[in-house]
């Protein structure tokens, strides 16, 4: 197709184009690959006549122009809105020259025209100021406020029909305009319904604008661009700044818990600065991390140190059609964080602060005093009489209280009599852990240069003495328009974390012998608490201990954006980062490690991690319209990423004085150091097309080609396509009838492919590792193969996602709903298959592995976000928000063979089992405890009443004490202790007994660690200046491995138990007189090694409901604010985690969000805060 032809045919691209479809533009476009798309949609005009024949009454101007175009072949340029404001025309033209026709129809219109070549350009008439009537103009003043009475800035005010006359409101919502009486003033601003006011005698106006469906108009940040929500075709959720700062804390993501349907956020440790677990729409990968990709201001960054008050918005991209532009990194979803930027105009100063307390953790109440005594007696009161298959007190070591001393041992009995019970939770955890934050943001600028700068300081203290998290951070952003078409800018984020970490061993301490003195009689600390039991108070002595993180992070993102033509922009941006994460650890003389683990040797370690990297991206975006109803956005991107990590670890032992800490490494035989290095690179090419027809038929297509260095050289590249479409049904004419109750309705459908290849660098090539070993008492060099055996075929793990969505709002936008259904199949899941031991052992505890793409997983789910405005009155408002998500996760295929139930996870705590979620627990499924009366049944398993009753899959109970089960070959085996009873079922049996030994073969799936569903539920109330919000959260269906359950070790109550232990008070254990089904027999001879099925005790339903936080706020009345020349002044108080309700009765005094751990309990938090804007 000849280019000049196209040039002549190019349609209107929106206003302000001067109408000249120039060769210049063409030349530019010629060089872009996107032009073809334009060509396809460009119309081929017919006819060349210069005269028009046309007649009609009250014809819309639009229709007239259509006819003109048809008859003349001319193309008409105009602004759509301009035509909307025109009147209808009545015309009778018979072969009239074009010019005459135009003059005729535009006579009383606010438009004028010009003809250039074969194009008619329509533009608004320059208003003619009538010099004859200047005295009629009067100044009109007033203020514009929103529904709540807050002043609205930047509201545009124009006089209707005189478009060039207008003004905007200032930051106090005030305006001043000269107008004539009878003029109609039009007030408009994005997000509010336009309002018209006729100027009357009263020239002081007070205008309140009503919000329109703001959500639809809001600009949503998507991958490499922005879109209006109304045009979205993917599943994207936006989180607003007020939600981000709702829960005071340094980590902005923590507030998002339960707010975004499909995004599961948990925190398992109450330690300040502890990381969060973030998972979007279930687990897809086995080995790769499930954490979403975080993009800050367009580029990868660190969210944990980002000041929540700097955040303008957080967008969560959930489906593949939205994330496929991130290609190989997009599988786990993408979270885009945009920080605030400066605004032209008045300087704004934002100051936020809060102060409060962390603490009030609930920990299980342990057995002490009388309870402890009773348990000890129970442990010694019964003896199993095997000959008679019964528990008896005959021969038991405890017969009466006279035997107490015997079962305690002399020394411990003396302590018992003194009532020396230690409450470790109370001793170790302090209540007065303050938390404070100060954040100052300053923004401002001119039309050309805008700047934003903020400083933030957080100091959060932990519950252990010496545990704290101090964060200093700053964000600086500057955007400068060099020319109208060139902008440059940069964003700098810097943070410094100084974190002191206590040795957290609370779980260990809780179950420790309570019958000890934390302090010796002379006031010194007692170090002899039993084996592996640490007196953490040792570390609270001055100067003996240190474990400090010093992390410095610098992100510098400069950019240049060039907009050579309307609609076309070229953005090149570079993200550089430099992080220094250093950990200094000192276990000095007298510290916990010195005393217990390091055999009285003082040690120090310095661990330094340096990461440096950059990402360079080039983005070309072109927006244009074809035939005015076809809107296109085409985007082309290249992205290059390179990072390098260096680690150095230095160790020093035999430190002679605590004075030296980690500052005086001696460089002799007591010093060792190691270093390591990794790097990776990725390169991606992306093309995207967005198309909208009439704003109601929406379509988007993306393709990304990605390459990564961690994959084998022949297999580095792959493609990640995605398409999606949306239909705004409510914009259709046939929906007119529903307007009264249905404000908007859109359906979306998307499909796409995303990837992950988060495998370790160097794991796709075979290498030798150099090491040394001790051979015959001397050091000799050794070589061994690196752990990962090469798999040349390893490729990307790919997720195929289909998403169906519906957005709707009802009843005057009172109800706003978003519903998504998705199905993600992940194929070629990378799994580090363990090479069976017959092929060698890598190190003493690890086998060789090969990464292969053989597994397959599926995640299907429903997400519902519902926002309702329940009561809206002038004084009182009540709104609710619900975010519900349900996800069903399944492993569809494993290594391709029959292997199943493969241990996985950090401590092999999970099992990969076909048909089950990725993080499933597989262990003994317990059927309670064998009870008195079940002696014969129990005996078939070699068990007694009081032992754990393991549910054995495939086992059939034939009669009392007789069971059968088929083995792998299909043969039926009988299990019994009474031959005669068994012979009733199989006369051929001869062995006197055959008992069944429960083993790992009898493991079953006992639950999964991911929730079945989660729901966040927020209710907000406001009354005049007061506001109250209550935020609650459900997480349901997850099983947790609660370590505390595993501390039920009766042998820990033995006289010389090594070490002595106690258990939570609420643990209801079995004794011959207490037929509990919760815990097996309390007998000092029993422990994890003797109680078959013991490991099954740990698994508990971890479902919970919690009130996450309650906030009460007060906004200072506007009049008062004004007097103080403030923009905003709000004080608030927040209480976090006030209530936790668990489903399982086995979880008492425990917050299951900790996911089974109890080393650092989650805290409750009470803070008061202040938000102030000048």
């Amino acid at each position: 197709m000849p280019w000049h032809y196209l040039a002549d045919r190019l349609p209107d691209c929106g206003g302000g184009f001067n109408g000249t479809i120039t060769k210049r533009l063409l030349r530019a476009m010629k060089l872009t690959i996107f032009f073809i798309a334009v060509a396809i949609f460009s119309a081929h005009a017919e006819g060349t006549a210069q005269n028009i024949t046309l007649s009609g009454k009250d014809l819309p101007l639009k229709q007239v122009f259509s006819a003109i175009e048809k008859q003349t072949g001319y193309v008409i340029f105009n602004n759509k809105r301009d035509l909307d404001e025109t009147k209808t025309v009545t015309i009778t033209a018979n072969d009239l020259p074009l010019k005459d026709v135009l003059d005729l129809i535009l006579k009383d219109q606010p438009l004028e025209y010009s003809i250039r070549g074969k194009t008619i350009v329509l533009s608004r008439k320059v208003p003619i100021i009538d010099p004859d009537l200047p005295e009629a103009r009067v100044p009109v003043t007033g203020t514009v406020v929103d529904a709540k009475g807050n002043p609205l800035e930047n509201v545009s005010i124009v006089i209707k029909g005189k478009n060039k006359v207008g003004t905007t409101t200032n930051s106090s919502g005030e305006f001043r305009i000269e107008a004539n009486q009878g003029d109609v003033l039009v007030f408009s601003i994005i997000g509010y319904l336009e309002q018209e006011v006729t100027v009357e005698k009263n020239t002081s106006l007070s205008i309140a604008l009503n919000p329109i469906d703001a959500k639809l108009e809001e600009v949503v940040v998507i991958g490499y661009g922005t879109q209006k929500r109304r045009d979205l075709t993917g599943a994207v959720v936006t989180v607003k700044p007020d939600q981000i700062t709702a829960r005071p804390g340094p980590n902005p993501m923590e507030s998002l818990q339960g707010r975004v349907a499909g995004l599961d956020i948990t925190r398992s440790s109450g330690q300040p600065g502890a990381p969060l677990t973030i998972q979007l729409r279930g687990n897809r990968s086995f080995t790769a991390s499930g954490t979403p990709l975080f993009i800050i201001n367009g580029l990868p960054g660190d969210y944990t140190t980002l000041n929540p008050y700097d955040i303008e918005s957080i967008e969560v991209l959930k489906d593949a059609s939205s994330t496929a532009v991130y290609g190989s990194a997009g599988s786990n979803g993408v979270i885009i964080i945009t920080t605030k930027s400066g605004k032209a105009g008045k300087l704004a100063i934002d100051f936020n602060t809060y102060y409060g307390n962390n603490g009030w953790s609930v920990t299980p109440k342990m057995r002490t005093g009388e309870d402890y005594l009773q348990t000890k007696r129970d442990a010694y009161s019964y003896v199993w009489d095997a000959a008679n298959s019964q528990w008896t007190t005959t021969g038991a070591l405890w017969q009466s209280p006279a035997d107490d001393e015997k079962i305690f041992g002399t020394q411990r009995y003396a302590l018992y009599q003194q009532g020396q019970f230690a409450d470790w939770a109370k001793l170790f955890l302090q209540k007065s852990a303050h938390t404070q934050n100060y954040s100052l943001g300053v923004s401002g600028g001119t039309e050309k240069t805008k700047g934003y700068i903020s400083f933030n300081y957080t100091n959060e203290k932990g519950q252990y003495v010496g545990d704290d998290y101090k964060l200093f951070s700053t964000t600086m952003r500057i955007d400068h328009k060099v020319r109208n078409f060139v902008s440059v800018g940069a964003n700098l984020t810097a943070s410094y974390v100084d974190r002191n970490k206590a040795q957290d061993k609370l779980e260990n301490a809780l179950v420790t012998d309570p019958l000890v003195k934390p302090y010796n009689d002379d006031g010194t600390l007692n170090t002899n608490l039993g084996n592996n039991v640490y007196n953490l108070l040792l570390n609270q002595q001055y100067g003996v201990y240190g474990n400090v993180d010093n992390n410095l992070k610098l992100y510098l993102n400069p950019y240049i954006e060039i907009r050579p033509l309307k609609g076309l922009s070229y953005l090149s941006r570079l993200s550089t980062f430099l992080t220094f994460n250093n950990t200094y650890r000192f276990d000095g003389i007298g510290s916990v490690s010195y005393t217990y683990a390091n055999a009285n040797i003082a040690k120090a370690q310095v661990d330094q991690n340096r990461a440096i990297g950059y990402q360079w991206e080039n983005i070309v975006t072109y927006n244009f319209k074809v035939k005015r109803d076809h809107a296109f956005t085409v985007t082309g991107i290249t992205t290059w990423y390179h990072n390098q990590n260096t680690n150095t670890t230095m160790n020093q032992s035999n430190i002679v004085s605590n004075n030296f800490k980690w500052y005086k490494f001696t460089g002799d035989a007591n010093t060792t150091s190691t270093s390591s290095y990794t790097m990776s690179k990725t390169l991606g090419f992306i093309g995207r097309l967005n198309y909208a027809y009439l704003g109601k038929y929406l379509f988007s297509a993306t393709i990304r080609r990605d390459g990564s260095s961690v994959l084998y050289r022949d297999n580095r590249w792959d493609n990640f396509p995605a398409v999606s479409a949306g239909w705004r049904i409510s914009d259709e004419s046939f929906m007119e009838g529903t307007k009264s109750w249905l404000n908007s309705l859109k359906v979306r459908v998307g499909w796409g492919v995303t990837g992950t290849a988060k495998i370790d660098p160097y794991s796709s090539v075979a290498n030798l590792e150099s090491n040394t070993m001790s051979l015959g008492g001397v050091t000799v060099p050794i070589y061994r193969n690196s752990q990962y055996l090469t798999n040349p075929d390893l490729g990307w793990e790919k997720s195929y996602n289909t998403n169906l969505g519906m957005d709707a709002s009802f009843l005057n936008n009172r109800i706003d709903m978003s519903l998504d259904l998705y199905n993600t199949k992940t194929k070629g899941v990378i799994y580090g298959v363990t090479a069976p031991i017959i092929y060698g052992q890598y190190t003493s505890s690890q086998q060789y592995k090969t990464n292969i793409n053989v597994c397959e997983t599926q995640n299907r789910g429903i997400e519902l976000a519902l926002n309702t405005r329940n009561i809206v009155t002038n004084d009182f408002n009540w709104t609710s928000a619900i975010a519900f998500s349900y996800n069903k996760e399944k492993i569809l295929a494993l290594t391709g063979g029959v292997a199943n139930n493969i241990a996985n996870g950090d401590n092999n705590q999970y099992s990969l089992t076909i048909g089950q979620p990725v993080n499933s627990f597989r262990n003994f499924r317990l059927d309670g405890i064998w009870q008195l009366g079940q002696e014969k049944d129990a005996a078939a398993f070699g068990k007694r009443p009081g032992d754990i009753h393991v549910d054995v899959p495939g086992m059939t109970r034939l009669a009392e004490g007789v069971y059968s089960k088929s083995d792998a070959t299909g043969a039926i085996n009988y299990y019994y202790t009474d031959l005669a009873a068994a012979q009733k079922f199989n006369g051929a049996l001869t062995a006197a007994k055959n008992t069944y030994s429960v083993s790992a073969n009898d493991y079953q799936i006992v639950g999964h660690n991911n929730p079945s569903w989660t729901m966040g539920f927020q209710n907000s109330f406001s009354y005049r200046n007061w506001e109250l919000s209550v935020y609650s959260y459900f997480r349901w269906g997850q099983t947790i491995s609660y370590n505390m359950m595993g501390w039920y070790q009766p042998s820990g109550f033995a006289t010389n138990a090594s070490p002595s232990r106690t258990i939570p008070k609420y643990f209801n254990y079995w004794t011959p007189n207490n037929p509990s089904n919760d815990f097996p027999v309390m007998n000092y001879l029993e422990g994890p090694g003797t109680l078959t099925g013991f490991s099954g005790l740990n698994y508990v339903d971890g479902s919970f409901f919690k009130i996450k936080n309650i906030t009460l706020g007060y906004n200072m009345p506007r009049e008062l604010i004004k007097k103080l020349s403030l923009e905003k002044f709000r004080v608030y108080g927040t209480i976090t985690n006030p209530l936790v309700v668990t489903k399982s009765p086995l979880l008492k005094q425990y917050d299951p969000e900790m996911n089974g751990s109890l080393e650092y309990p989650l805290t409750k938090q009470i803070v008061v805060g202040l938000n102030m804007t000048f």
Binding site: Q411, S680, S708, S709, A835, S997
Partner: protein
């Protein structure tokens, strides 16, 4: 906007885009400065030798520590559960032994672990670009010996196995098993080649590296074990081969650098641990004073010794006669942390020893228990003395009270009498992680000065005088092998228990210790927790402790020693000619050096045998090698589990199932990693 500007801008932006696009894919190569390519390193001798060294890793750890230590010994006529214990009932009592039993899994993993490295070392040898031919031959021979040893452990414990002798880049995830004869053929072939090519003195004089005598000794052992499978070679039964190899080594001891100590006490003497003359094949322990300590590649340091010791805390408490806990990791610097009393001797094993003449009794079992002082440690470290050694002489001295006498049934007349420590430990800080060494010396009897100058050094600080004199005042408790009468006990100012009284009389086979229960006849009842403590792996010398962890010891552990060769010779003699006199000649060599007095070696004392039966061979194995990784294999090759367990270990016999217990279960974790688990089978479990 001027045309020129736009042009320029477009060109500039396109230039940028072009650069971005031109970043070629080849730039995605990894830069890896932390590892080396196999091809460069392993084609050269030095690299290959370093690769070969790693083949020894499998020796140190599980195979000399508790997992194989117990799997190779318990479940036999020698060992049973201590009082009240059921720990490791899976192998001690064949109860609930399933595919998930961890110790069997450990043995499987560690025996297999180094075979791949052996295969690859052997495979690469012909392609080396440099290196002395003789060194290469030696190293290949060492490697073959190691491979043969690992396979011998596997085939003994597990029977049929996949026989993998090459390192194939493709790992077959559906492995199949080879027959037992095929595996033995391979082992014998490897050992023969090793024997032919190994030197008599180890390469680099490194005492870990194996030599000719190891190959010959293992040949004798493997032939004997294979003989139990009914194998023969060249028309000759493996028993014949076993005897040939044993005889060859016995007759040419000097030629092969092998030796037998003239006195059994020398075998486990502290001074002889590192360079033991009698050892044929050793697992050389870590040297805590050497930087090599910190580069151990083993999975764990051996903790075998403490499983054979009672928990004194449970028997005595720590409030009266016994001063420092052994249950604690930071307490007792003489015994260590004895918190794992899993294995006790059967009455049969105890009765094997005629302690009157046979010094192997007190050189194998500790039956007198003591406190220790840290006078040396305090002197050499001052206030920096580590707390386990911070024990003044007086603090280690017990004064008997009337209450103690009542509690333990000691003659109340001895109230006020003192019991002094027997040992005194020094404390030396070894390199870095190895931390403290607690080196003991002995307080001579009758010297109560507590002065360092009076301390004496003995051959083995764990060996106490036998029999314990009634007037002995350095031990607070004594388990008497010879039953003491009440009157005799009344002469002793310490706790005395007759070993016979520890056994439950309802079990005539002597495999059941009394429970710690009211009315068990012991005073107090908690003394039921005691049993004779097998001390062979309790190395108390300078360099023998892992100081930070009282559960582990660093001494060398003998995988095979010369005495076993005599026993194999005797055993093979019984299986071939059945000549009892000839067999007795082999056994007499061991019996003679075991005599407490040389004059005791005669037929009258029973120390000299004129003719031997197979039972004598079993008994001699028990006396000489109990605990030393042999008993289970011995019973297996003689198909003796059924008969001997029935007679000597009722508790094990109760669950022993000959149809499956002759081999161990194939571990679940392995079966779960292959694709043909059902076909591979569990060995009947």
């Amino acid at each position: 906007m001027k045309i020129k500007n736009i042009k320029g801008l477009i060109y500039k932006s396109l230039f940028g885009l072009t650069i971005a696009l031109s970043v070629a894919s080849c730039k995605l190569d990894e830069y890896n400065p932390i590892s080396l390519s196999e091809q460069d390193v392993l084609s050269k001798f030095d690299g290959w030798k370093a690769y070969q060294s790693n083949c020894y890793t499998g020796l140190w750890g599980t195979l000399i520590s508790m997992p194989y230590g117990l799997c190779s010994e318990v479940g036999t006529d020698l060992w049973t559960f201590p009082s009240n214990s059921t720990t490791y009932k899976e192998i001690i009592g064949y109860q609930d032994l399933t595919v998930s039993f961890n110790l069997v899994g450990n043995v499987w993993n560690y025996a297999w672990g180094s075979i791949k490295d052996c295969n690859k070392t052997i495979q690469l040898a012909p392609n080396l670009k440099d290196g002395k031919a003789s060194d290469i031959a030696t190293l290949v021979a060492e490697t073959k010996l190691l491979r043969a040893y690992y396979y011998s452990v596997l085939v003994t414990q597990f029977g049929e196995l996949p026989l993998i002798t090459t390192d194939d880049p493709t790992k077959n995830l559906s492995p199949t098993r080879n027959s037992v004869p095929e595996i033995y053929t391979q082992i014998i072939s490897d050992l023969r080649e090793a024997f032919n090519n190994l030197p008599v003195t180890p390469l680099d004089n490194n005492l870990q590296r194996v030599t000719k005598k190891a190959a010959l000794g293992l040949l004798a052992r493997v032939y004997a074990q294979g003989a139990g499978e009914g194998l023969s070679e060249g028309g000759k039964s493996y028993w014949v081969r076993a005897k040939e190899c044993a005889d060859s080594l016995i007759n040419n001891m000097g030629t092969y650098g092998a030796a037998l100590y003239p006195d059994f006490a020398n075998v486990f003497a502290s001074a002889n641990n590192r360079n033991n003359q009698e050892v044929l094949f050793t697992a050389y322990g870590l040297d805590p004073y050497s930087p090599s300590y910190d580069v151990s590649t083993a999975n764990s340091k051996p903790n075998l010794y403490l499983h054979y010791y009672p928990k004194f805390d449970d028997a005595f408490g720590t409030a009266d006669v016994f001063k420092r806990s052994v249950n604690s990791n930071t307490s007792n610097a003489y015994y260590g942390r004895l918190n794992q009393a899993f294995v006790a001797p059967t009455k049969y094993l105890i009765n094997c020893f005629n302690a009157t003449y046979d010094k192997r009794w007190e050189n194998t079992f500790q039956t007198a228990f003591t406190n220790y002082s840290g006078v040396q440690a305090i002197a050499s470290n001052g206030s920096g003395v580590p707390s386990p050694a911070n024990v003044k002489y007086t603090d280690a001295t017990v004064t008997l009270t009337a209450a103690m006498c009542t509690k333990y049934g000691i003659n109340p007349a001895f109230a006020g009498k003192k019991i002094y420590p027997y040992a005194d430990v020094n404390a030396k800080n070894a390199s870095k992680n190895a931390t403290w060494q607690y080196i003991p010396q002995i307080w001579p009897r009758g010297v109560y000065t507590g002065a360092i100058s009076s301390l004496v050094t003995v051959a083995n600080a764990n060996v106490h005088p036998y029999p314990l004199d009634p007037t002995e005042d350095r031990f607070f408790a004594y388990l008497s092998k010879d039953p003491l009468t009440a009157a005799d006990k009344a002469t002793r100012a310490y706790v005395t228990v007759n070993i016979d009284d520890l056994f439950d009389p309802s079990d005539p086979t002597g495999s059941t210790y009394k429970a710690n229960a009211a009315g068990n006849g012991l005073t107090p009842s908690s003394l039921a927790m005691l049993f004779p403590a097998m001390q062979k792996f309790n190395h108390n010398f300078d360099g023998g402790w892992l100081g930070g962890n009282f559960q582990q010891k660093l001494g060398n552990i003998m995988i095979m020693r010369m005495a076993e060769v005599y026993l194999i010779a005797a055993e093979a003699t019984m299986h071939t000619s059945g000549d009892g006199a000839a067999a007795a000649n082999y056994l007499n060599v061991l019996r003679k050096r075991a005599c407490r007095n040389p004059g005791d070696f005669n037929v009258g004392t029973g120390m000299q045998l004129s003719t031997a039966t197979m039972n004598d061979v079993f008994d001699e194995y028990a006396r000489e090698l109990c605990g030393e990784f042999t008993r289970w294999a011995l019973l297996k090759r003689n198909k003796a589990f059924e008969s001997r367990l029935q007679t000597y270990n009722k508790r094990a016999a109760a669950n022993f199932n000959p149809a499956k217990n002759y081999v161990r279960p194939i571990p679940f974790s392995f079966l779960n990693q292959i694709n043909n688990a059902t076909d591979f089978g569990t060995n009947g479990y």
